[in-house]
Every structure is written in structure tokens, then in C-alpha cells.
């Protein structure tokens, strides 16, 4: 421990033990515990207590004090747990009988303070931290803690109840770690008494008629099988499976959600040869209602190893709701395809039609699970892509009201689903997920048609539109290319012609969310298809590029930023404006000027940041307008950026500067300038030229100013840039060699002023030699190490914490209760 902290500790302990002194901030005690955890992890707890007797005194004092706050009591219990986690320190505390007094019947457990949930929570957390060694196990048994933990499982506080369950698992694991090693499924009679007691309690709870008790037992077991990996867990499953079977006999199955979690947890940890387990899972699937069985079916299908029959059963459950929808809406027989087997399930139909919430819940769940399953390698094979696509399209049509089902069930489903945003969102997500696969052209046409319907519909909410755009993008990007040609196929071409006017309309939406989603969609589409003749033709024939440009002046800054990105992308592909005409010469050039104007004048950070990203990309990719006169471009941008109030814009200015440097001097060897292989020095001729260019664009002054920026990431980026420049320009020599010449001396003086916060003085034009000398003179490595620390590392230090807690004594007024 830091000597200064050691010095402050007695005073702090005195403050903590004094009930009249309020503790500064409710986070302080947490941070103090974090610090003690770190200290004890790094060294001996026993030594810590011996060197700082005030800590043990604090614990004794807490026990004696009558009117201590529950927060301090809870803190002390947790603190004692941290110390007692090391066995020798545990023995030391035991000698003073401190632990039984804190955690036994005579302690807070029997007092009035026990009514405070924070004290019960502290008691559990203390024991959890303490229970790391055999002595702790004996202690727990001796002080009867396990029975208290059992009762705390039903605590009115969720936090306490949950922590109690986790502590039981921890104790069981600790108790079983020893005897189970090397034995396969050890017999219950071999298990230690503590484990026997816990398992017995779990068995009793599983038999209980009170559902909360069953839930508690199942959630403990879920954690056991999720976290404990000893062979004994298999023995535990064998022992408990009859109890699970009895639960399944009940109608309805109690605590079904917890039962599903538990069974999946067992399935994930059990060997694939366990037939009993698979039978139980199959039985559970058939006993639960469709809504309850969905998560179990999904979990089973995600398992790496599992019998095919069970997978088929599980998949059938996920498909049931969609099969019902398809069947209800079927215009012609045979539309069900592979889902046919799952159709006609009366329970699923009953749930779907029972009420609107039940129908919505079941469909959303099935769609979400199938959507998550789609990209997984272990998804069922064959994957019924075609009927699933059909189902997604049908659901979307039922929701929009455009389906005209003839059957009674279809009519009722339509009445339930029409206008339901939740199902629309889920179905669009699912449709988007299905774009990873293919489908017959006829069906794909239907997909595009339903997506278009949603994009056009005035009923579509902004979230539905966003998802419709995302799904459309997914389907567009997977469109097959025309054989032997790199252009889009005729169907896609046709769809594009219909889509662009819709996009145009959406870009004029009064709702900023919609305009923004439209622009994001356009950016993505252009990024992928900018080079496709068909896309270019359709886009240029539309008003979309012009509208996008207009959105650069949108009142909403998010939209302006997206418009900047979109126009940047369009411009990269030469799609930004209508083809040059006699009336509008140099349309592209005007965009550069417009973006520069945004960079210099926009009051919000997002558009300015977006401009910088576009500019950096343009410079990197050699955009024609930039490449014409890169020097002028960089000078202009850096000048605008250097005055920016948003440090993220300044940081991106440095990114652009770095790209420019790399173009002048060659690539960096690695992203990290301190990497093993430093960048090679540039040839002298090239270097002299480059340094002159850097001087002209004032990059050097920009970077040096940034080095002393009050915002850490800007300074960090600048440091990286200068390190790179130094490696290229002045690879040899040490800092001591530099510093000669009047130019360097005056620059050094200016830099010192900058560092002190006076940034008014300009640097002036620097000779290349002075640049090299200056780079050698600055301790960039030292600066980089300093900047690597978080900007509040001093305030966050333990010493600072102790000082703050001590200083807060007596200084607390009304501010104690204030927030904003």
C-alpha cells in the first residue's frame, strides 16, 4: 500500500466508525472496497491488517456501535469478507472471534439492522468473497450460515435473493471441488455434508407447491450447470432428473421459464450421449405451451451436439406459428412447403387466435428466434428458405392489410395483425435476415413488392421504415449479377426504378428519423453499387442526388451529417450532381466548397465530423478534385479544423494530416509508431521536398498545437503523428543532439507558452532543418506515456479517494441530496 494511503487510513477508519459523520458520496464506499480488493489481490491481507491495525479496530467498532448506518455496516461485512478470503488472514480474524460476530447469529443477523436490504446484501457478499478455502466452509457450517442463505433466497429484494442463490452455487462448487475430482458421477453418499444439505434443500424446493420456491431452486441449478464444470454435475443431474420429471407431470408446468433455462444449461454442459436428458428435453417441448416452448426450441437448435429427432421436434415448434399463418392465408394448396409438417397444430392456432397480445407475442418470438438461427452454422438443414420467405411476406401483408385471406382463421389473423407495429418490425428484421439466402425469382419479386409497399405506405412508422430500408438493402445487395456481365439483373433494375422515387419521397419526409434512414440507405447502396452502370443510370435519372445535396442544409444536424456522408460517397463515384451542363459547370467542385463551408460554419459537431471523414476518404482514395491540388486542399482543411471547438473534429484533422504525410513520405510500417520495426527513413531528396510542403500547408504548426491540446485524444493523435514524422525525417540522433540554432530556440519558447495554455502566438514558417531539430528535441515518447493515462487518473487514485472522503467530513450541506 502507498505510504500516503497508509497514513490517511486511520483517520478515515475513525470517520467511518463515527455515526455522526456522513460519508461523502454513496459511490465512495464502493470505490474503497474496489481498492481493498486490488490491494489484497496484489499482496498479503494478513500483512495489510498487521500494518494497519485501524482496519480491524474499525470492524470491532462496527460491531459495538448501536446507531451506525446500514451502509457502513454493509461495507464492513464486505470488507471483512475481502480480508478473510486469504486463509491465513481468515485464521487471524478467527482468533479474535471477529468473523462469528460479524456473520453469525450474534451479529447483524439478529439485530434490527437486518431489516435493511443493504445489510443483508453486504452479509451475502462478504460471505461470498470469504468462501475461498476449506476453513471458510467449516466456518459456514459452524455458524449456520447455509440455513440463513436458504431463507434469503426468498428475500423481498431481488438483489439479495439473487445474490443468495449465487452464494449457494459458490459454496456447493467449493465443497464439491475436492471430493469430485477424478471421479465420474460420484455417488451422493460421498458428497460432503454441506453439499448434501444444499442439494437436499434444492430437492425439497423442487417438490414444493409454491412456485417461487421452485423458481429459486431452478435458477440455482441453472447457475450450477452454467458455471461449475466438475464431473459431479453429471451426478447431480442424475439425482435431480426424477424431480424434473415430476415437474413435467404437472399441468401447467410450474416455473416453466426457469425450467427451460435450467434444462438448456444442463444440455450445454452434458455429454451428447446422455439419452435421459434428450428424452427430458423432448418431453418438455411437448408439455409446454407454444409460447413457453419457443425459447427451449431455440436453445436446443443452438446446441452443437444433439440428436436429430430432437432438433426436428424443436424446429417444428419454431415453425408452427409461421406454418399456421401460411396455412390460414394460403391461396393455393402446397404453399406450405417444408413447413407443412408443422402446420395444423391446434395448440399453436389456438394461441394465435386467443388474443391479440398472445398472437403478437408468439409471432414476434418465433420470428426473432428464426432470424437469429438463420446465420448460425448449426441451423437446421435443409433450411426451409422458400416457405419462410413466404411466411414473412404473408405476415407483412397481413399486418399492412393488403392480404385477403379467404379462410376464417386467416380473416381473424388479419383482424388481429393489421397495423401491428411490433410484428411489422419483427417480420422486417426476419426478412432482412433471410436475405442471406436465396429464393425463386417469383418469391424475391414478392419480397421486393412487400418491401416497396412498406416504404411507400404512409402508415409506416419511422422505425418500421428504418427496418424496411435495412431489409431492402440486404435483399438488393444479394441480387444476382447478370451472367457474363457485372451489371445488375433486370429484376433488380426494375425494382430500382420503382424504389428511387420512393426514396426521393422519403428524403422529403417531415420526420428527421425517416430522412436520416433514407440517407443511410443511399450511402450503403452507393458504396456497393457506385460502379454499376444500371444503378448509376437509374440514380442519375432521379432527383435523389439533388435532394441529397439539399439536405446538407437540413435543420436537423443528424440529417446534415448523413447528407454529408451520402454526398461524399456519391461524389466519390461521380454521382453527386446532374451531369455537367452549360448552366452548371463545375458542379463537383462546388461540393468541395460547400463541404468546406459546413466544416467552417456548422454549429453542430456531427456534420463537421462527417465532413472530415469524407475529406479523409477522398484524400486516401485520390478523389479527382482533391488530387488536382492536394496541397491546397490540405492547407484549407487544416486551417478550418485548427479553430474547431469540437475536439473530435480536430482529432480527425490529424487523421487527415497523417494520410497526407503517408502520401508524401510513404506508409507507416505499423499502426503503432513504437512498433518493433520503425518506419524506414525517407530518402533525403524526398524528405526535403516533403518538409517544405508540410511547412507550406502549416501541418507542422497544426500538429504541434494539437500536441498541447486540452483534449487528450487530440494530443495523443498528434504525438503519434509526430513520432511517425520523426522516424521518417530524423531517424538517428538523440534528443540531446538537438536544440541548436536560434530558430529552434524561439520555437521551443513558443511551445512552452503553448503548453502553459497561451496559444495566441503563431509559430511562423519553419525551415526543414529546424523541423528535424525540433522533432529531436521534444520528448515525444515521454509525452506519449503521459497521455496514455486517463485524464482523470489523479482524481481516481486511491489516495485522492481517501483525501476526498476525509475532506467531505463536515463539508456536507444541502449538496448531499442534490443531483441536478
Amino acid at each position: 500500500m502507498d505510504p500516503e494511503c497508509s497514513r490517511l487510513l486511520p483517520a478515515l477508519c475513525a470517520v467511518l466508525a463515527d455515526p455522526r459523520q456522513p460519508v461523502a458520496d454513496d459511490t465512495c464506499l464502493e470505490k474503497l472496497l474496489d481498492w481493498f480488493t486490488a490491494v489484497t489481490e496484489a499482496g498479503s491481507s494478513l500483512l495489510l491488517l498487521q500494518e494497519n491495525p485501524c482496519l480491524v479496530e474499525l470492524l470491532f467498532h462496527v460491531l459495538k456501535s448501536q446507531d451506525l448506518s446500514s451502509r457502513i455496516l454493509s461495507f464492513s461485512l464486505r470488507l471483512a469478507g475481502i480480508f478473510a478470503a486469504q486463509e491465513n488472514c481468515f485464521q487471524y480474524l478467527q482468533q479474535g472471534e471477529l468473523l462469528p460476530m460479524l456473520f453469525g447469529e450474534v451479529g447483524p443477523l439478529g439485530g434490527t439492522s437486518w431489516t435493511a436490504p443493504t445489510v443483508r446484501s453486504g452479509w451475502i457478499q462478504g460471505l461470498h468473497t470469504l468462501a475461498q478455502h476449506p476453513s471458510a466452509l467449516r466456518f459456514l457450517a459452524a455458524c449456520g450460515a447455509v440455513d440463513t442463505i436458504f431463507s434469503l433466497q426468498g428475500d423481498p429484494s431481488l438483489f439479495v435473493a439473487s445474490a443468495a442463490g449465487q452464494l449457494l452455487v459458490h459454496i456447493l462448487d467449493l465443497a464439491m471441488r475436492g471430493p469430485a475430482e477424478g471421479h465420474r458421477s460420484p455417488q451422493a453418499c460421498d458428497w460432503p455434508a454441506c453439499a448434501q444439505k444444499i442439494v437436499g434443500h434444492i430437492e425439497d424446493s423442487l417438490c414444493s407447491t409454491a412456485i417461487p420456491q421452485v423458481t429459486q431452486a431452478l435458477s440455482v441449478l441453472t447457475t450450477v450447470f452454467g458455471h461449475c464444470h466438475g464431473l459431479w454435475t453429471q451426478g447431480l443431474w442424475v439425482r435431480l432428473s426424477p424431480f424434473v420429471a415430476r415437474l413435467l407431470e404437472k399441468d401447467p408446468v410450474p416455473a416453466s421459464h426457469s425450467l427451460v433455462d435450467f434444462l438448456l444449461s444442463v444440455a450445454r454442459s452434458a455429454p451428447s450421449s446422455d439419452r435421459g436428458l434428450w428424452e427430458t428435453l423432448a418431453q418438455t417441448l411437448s408439455h409446454l405451451s407454444p409460447t413457453q416452448a419457443g425459447p427451449l426450441a431455440f436453445g436446443i437448435l443452438k446446441l452443437q451436439d444433439c440428436p436429430q429427432a430432437l432438433r426436428t421436434q424443436a424446429f417444428g415448434i419454431l415453425l408452427q406459428p409461421l406454418a399456421c399463418v401460411l396455412e390460414a392465408a394460403a391461396q393455393a394448396p402446397g404453399a406450405l412447403g417444408l413447413l407443412g409438417a408443422a402446420a395444423g397444430d391446434s395448440v399453436a392456432v389456438g394461441t394465435l387466435l386467443s388474443s391479440r397480445p398472445a398472437c403478437v407475442g408468439l409471432l414476434c418470438c418465433a420470428l426473432a428466434h428464426l432470424g437469429l438461427l438463420q446465420p448460425l452454422p448449426q441451423r437446421p438443414s435443409p433450411w426451409p428458405q422458400v416457405p419462410l420467405l413466404g411466411a414473412a411476406v404473408t405476415i407483412l401483408r397481413l399486418c399492412s392489410g393488403s392480404a385477403a385471406p379467404t379462410s376464417d382463421v386467416g380473416g381473424r389473423l388479419c383482424a388481429i395483425l393489421v397495423g401491428c407495429g411490433r410484428v411489422q418490425r419483427a417480420a422486417l428484421d426476419f426478412l432482412g435476415a433471410l436475405s442471406q439466402g436465396t429464393g425463386p425469382q417469383e418469391l424475391v419479386t414478392q419480397v421486393f413488392s412487400v418491401l416497396l409497399e412498406y416504404l411507400v405506405s404512409p402508415e409506416s412508422s419511422s422505425m418500421v421504415l428504418k427496418k424496411a430500408f435495412q431489409a431492402t438493402l440486404g435483399w438488393l445487395l444479394r441480387s444476382p449479377k447478370t451472367p457474363g456481365c457485372c451489371d445488375l439483373d433486370p429484376h433488380t433494375q426494375l425494382f430500382l426504378r420503382e424504389l428511387l422515387p420512393v426514396l426521393q419521397k422519403r428524403l422529403c419526409s417531415p420526420c428527421w428519423e425517416v430522412r436520416d434512414s433514407g440517407l443511410e440507405f443511399l450511402t450503403q447502396m452507393t458504396r456497393h453499387w457506385g460502379g454499376q452502370a444500371g444503378f448509376r443510370q437509374a440514380l442519375l435519372a432521379s432527383e435523389v442526388p439533388e435532394l441529397t445535396k439539399q439536405l446538407l442544409r437540413d435543420p436537423e444536424s443528424y440529417v446534415r451529417a448523413s447528407a454529408v456522408t451520402a454526398t461524399g460517397q456519391l461524389s466519390s463515384w461521380g454521382l453527386c450532381a446532374t451531369p455537367a451542363s452549360p448552366e452548371r459547370p463545375g458542379a463537383q467542385q462546388s461540393l468541395l466548397a460547400e463541404l468546406l463551408h459546413i466544416l467552417s460554419t456548422d454549429s453542430e459537431g456531427f456534420p463537421r465530423r462527417a465532413v472530415m471523414q469524407v475529406f479523409t476518404e477522398w484524400l486516401r482514395d485520390g478523389h479527382t478534385d482533391v488530387a488536382e491540388d492536394a496541397e491546397r486542399f490540405v492547407a484549407g482543411v487544416l486551417q478550418a479544423v485548427s479553430r474547431d471547438l469540437d475536439w473530435e473534429v480536430r482529432a480527425q484533422g490529424l487523421e487527415l494530416a497523417l494520410v497526407f504525410l503517408e502520401q508524401l513520405l510513404g506508409q507507416r510500417g505499423s499502426h503503432c509508431p513504437c512498433a518493433v520495426a520503425p518506419p524506414e527513413a525517407a530518402p533525403p531528396g524526398l524528405l526535403a521536398h516533403a518538409l517544405q510542403v508540410l511547412g507550406r500547408v502549416q501541418l507542422f504548426e497544426f500538429a504541434l498545437r494539437a500536441l498541447f491540446d486540452c483534449d487528450r485524444p487530440v494530443a495523443q493523435k498528434s504525438c503519434d503523428l509526430l513520432l511517425f514524422l520523426r522516424a521518417k525525417a530524423a531517424p538517428c540522433g538523440s534528443p540531446r543532439e538537438a536544440g541548436d540554432g536560434p530558430n529552434v530556440a524561439s520555437v521551443g519558447a513558443t511551445l512552452q507558452k503553448w503548453q502553459a495554455g497561451e496559444q495566441g502566438q503563431p509559430l511562423g514558417l519553419l525551415e526543414p532543418a529546424a523541423v528535424v531539430a525540433l522533432l529531436r528535441s521534444i520528448d515525444l515518447e515521454g509525452l506519449r506515456d503521459t497521455l496514455a493515462e486517463s485524464s482523470d487518473h489523479v482524481e481516481k487514485s486511491p489516495q485522492s479517494l481517501l483525501q476526498d472522503m476525509l475532506a467531505a467530513v463536515g463539508a456536507l450541506g444541502e449538496s448531499g441530496a442534490d443531483c441536478y
Partner: protein, 599 residues
Amino acid sequence: MPEIRVTPLGAGQDVGRSCILVSIAGKNVMLDCGMHMGFSDDRRFPDFSYITRSGRLTDFLDCVIISHFHLDHCGALPYFSEMVGYDGPIYMTQPTQAICPILLEDYRKIAVDKKGEARFFTSQMIKDCMKKVVAVHLHQTVQVDDELEIKAYYAGHVLGAAMFQIKVGSESVVYTGDYNMTPDRHLGAAWIDKCRPNLLITESTYATTIRDSKRCRERDFLKKVHETVERGGKVLIPVFALGRAQELCILLETFWERVGLKAPIYFSTGLTEKANHYYKLFIPWTNQKIRKTFVQRNMFEFKHIKAFDRAFADSPGPMVVFATPGMLHAGQSLQIFRKWAGNEKNMVIMPGYCVQGTVGHKILSGQRKLEMEGRQVLEVKMQVEYMSFSAHADAKGIMQLVGQAEPENVLLVHGEAKKMEFLKQKIEQEFRVSCYMPANGETVTLPTSPSIPVGISLGLLKREMAQGLLPDAKKPRLLHGTLIMKDSNFRLVSSEQALKELGLAEHQLRFTCRVHLHDTRKEQETAVRVYSHLKSVLKDHCVQHLPDGSVTVESILIQAAAHSEDPGTKVLLVSWTYQDEELGSYLTSLLKKGLPQAS
């Protein structure tokens, strides 16, 4: 039994991060999704694992409601929606939707970039989260789904702050968020109608405090600023981008105008412009005075307050600077503080609370030698003042709101346990309602009476009206009819109409009760005695002695018969229809008492 369940994941007996789960008639709603500024790890966010355990979040939660833009109420929202995976609707008012991303963005920049924190949400996540927001207008009833509806009420506190009523069928909960019951310079006072919710969840920051006059606090503030400026010193006021800052700006602007001061006032980082924009946009959310004078003069177009440039900090002479962030933990406010701290002529005024681990917290607790990077020590010679300008209702205001809403139960959040305890007792005594104050993680369960709406037929109502009694909303009335349940609807109609509608024939059911009387006389004589007795007792009723010897009182028939075993006892058979149940029971009990002795 239907019930309302409330579990605070945050703000339960603390003032950290508000996040309250409410379950009402099977609908689950999250009220606020705040962040704790005092932590820089996952503890800053509420522990959402307790909800994710219930299955997919979007399936479990029906909606999230955000009361206002302060980070302790909305700071965890992008984390919750973009990282934890909630994909459902989020409701807030329009100003909150507009201002939230600014504050979230400010905090993100400090947390991720300046302190190098990983696992924090990105700008794109903030935007994506904001796209899920459904903006609500004041007093507009928004239908979340078929059953769940919400309605926003004005809360004062900050621009766009709202209280929300959540209603499912006849059950309702009101959540106040943070509110202020007294108007200030730019906002009005909170208001709610007499909505009589089953439960009112109210903040209780100042549960035991009756706040001193705002005028005194303002005078004190202006005096301190004025004195400092007069002696040539500089005043730094660290603030969060939007909120109290605007209140203080109006205060200073008006004062500067009145006294004719010349010292410049600056506001950092282009925020004046941004604030101006939002305050102009949302003028209906400000107070009456600002709204009235807006056409002549926009209060937010400040004459004296100019945008700050970093170079100004070194300028000589007095000035006042509003700089962000508010706790002096990074950025411009900290940079200016470092420059000015060494001069005793200068002053820093902290208008809000600072968490531990910030320079603001240190100076407020009286520390004057601050360790800086590289073991440098900064000696703070400038004056340090704390002045709370947070706009929460005080104890009086909270009681006033409870009185206004007339809830059946009250639940306190966003306050300290000890203070809550005091207020709880006060509320229970004064309003005779139950008051709860659960800690974080504790669930309060309130049983509610099931209420099923029933339609009443016009015929039945007319018949009731014909009896001369006009309906009175405050007095419950007994109404007889036949309840018909058809197509998930309930209707109360007259029995005749029910018979007609259902095509049933009428069967009359009579209840008969035997009363044993000790009387040795003949049955006819007993009947006469019964008639005379009833005639004398029931003066307002039609009592008849029929030729067959039986007695009737309205539709009730009384016959006397001999006892089969005991000739000294007569059996009175009293029979009535359900319409006269009350009278029948009364007569039975009357006759059981016996007949008066013949004189």
C-alpha cells in the same frame, strides 16, 4: 387478483440513477433509464440482468418512458437499447428527444475518448437509439398498444420535463420524474389533474426540506458575481450544456441590463447558439412570462452573453464564463479553472452537485491544494461557492402534488432513505393513504380491485330516473338488473329486456322462510294478530288481510299454519320474490321477535 408491481433498479432510496420497473395489468413499463455519474465501469448503469432473465427484452417490456433529459434519467438509454438489445418503443417529450443526444454525446466524449473507457456507446448508437423514440405532446393520450396508454403532464424542473400517467384499463400509475412546484425564470410549475391514480410514484429529493426563497438565493448569487467582477476578478460557472445554465443566463442577463455592467459574459463551446435554438423551438414549454413577451423580445437572445473562445481566458480584466462540463472533470471548464485558480480575486460558483472523483467535488469539500498530472500541485486561491439551483419540489411541493393527484397509494423514489421515512409518515398521516419507499431491487406489490366496465340499457336508466333520483357521480347507487355477457361485452338490462333478448320464458322464484310463533290461538286469529301488528309498524307500506286468511305486505305473502307436533306453536310462512329481498328479510326478522301481547 390484479396487482401493480413496482421494482426500482435505481432511485430506490438513492439519488443515483433512476430506473423503475412497473408492472400494471400484465404490462411492463420501464420508467427512466438513468446513469450514475459516480462510476466509470458497468456499475454506472442499472443492472438490467434482472429483466433479461425474463426472456427477450423487447418481448418482456412494453415500453420505456423517459421523464427528462438529465443523464441520471436517460444516460443508460443508448446502452440499454443498442447494447443490451431493447428494440421496442421509447417515449419522451419532444424537447427531451431533441436535447438528450446533446448531453449523451457530451458524456460519451468525456467517458470514451478523454478517459479512454472502452465498452461505451458510440455516436451512431446514440442516433440509432433516438430514432426509436416516439415523441409525445403534453396532455396527449398516446396508445402504446390496445390496452396500454400514457399521458404526459408538465413537470417544470428542466425544459421538456414531464410526469407520465400510465394506464391500463381502469388501473393507473403516475410517475413524476423530477419536478418543481414553483415557477422559475424560464419554466412554469408542475401541474397534474385530479386523476386519482392507484399509485403515485414521486421523487423526494427534498423530502424534508422547505427550501428558502428562490429570490434570496438569486440575490446572493448576483451579489457574489457582482462583487467579484467589481474588484476585477473573473467568475467561472461550470455547468452542463442545457438546463440550469439557461436559468442562470437569464438571471445574469437581466441583472447586467438593470445595473448596466460592462464586463463580458461568455458561454463556452457554441452552446448559446444551440440552447437558443432549442429554447426558441420549444417556447410553449417555457413559462407564461417568456411566452407572452416572446414576440417582442426573445429572452434567450442574450445581448450580453457571447460565445467563448479559448483565447479569452487569458484576457485581462473581469469576465464571467459559463463552461462545460459541470463537475470540473474534464474539458474547457477544467482548463479555465486551472488558469484562474491561483488568483484570489477570482471565483468559481458550482451551481450543482459533483460526484467523487472530480475536481468539483474536491473543491466543494474544501480541498485547496490539488494534485495535478505529473505530481504538480495546484493551489486554489480563488473563492469557491456552492449554490444549488436544482429545481426539485420541496416537502411542501410534494405534499401539494399528492393533494392535487389524489392517489390511492404513494411510492417515494429519488431520495435518501432517512428523509423519505419522514415524508412517508407525513403523507400517511395527512392523506390517509399507504406510502412505500422500496430500496433498489425491492418489489412493492399493490393489489387493485378488478374493475369491469358494464354498459347499462337506456330503458333501465330511464326507469331509475323515473323514481326521481338523479345520478350523482359521488354517491354510489344500487341498481337492479340482469347482467348479460355476450361477445366479451357486459350489459345491464331490465329483466324483461333480458328475457326478450335471450328468448326465455319468465319463471318466478319465491323465497320462503318459516317463523315459529308461540300462540295457542287458531291460525286465522294468529293471522289477524300478524296483520294488526304489521299494519301498525309498517305505516308506509300497503298491508292487506286477504279473504283466504293470508296477509300481504307489498308482494310478500304471510300465511299462518298449525305446527304438526306442537299445537301451542304456529308456523308463519313468509315468502317473497328477489325484488323485495330487503323487505322480506326485514319482515322475517320483525316477526321472529314475536307479536305484541294483546291488550
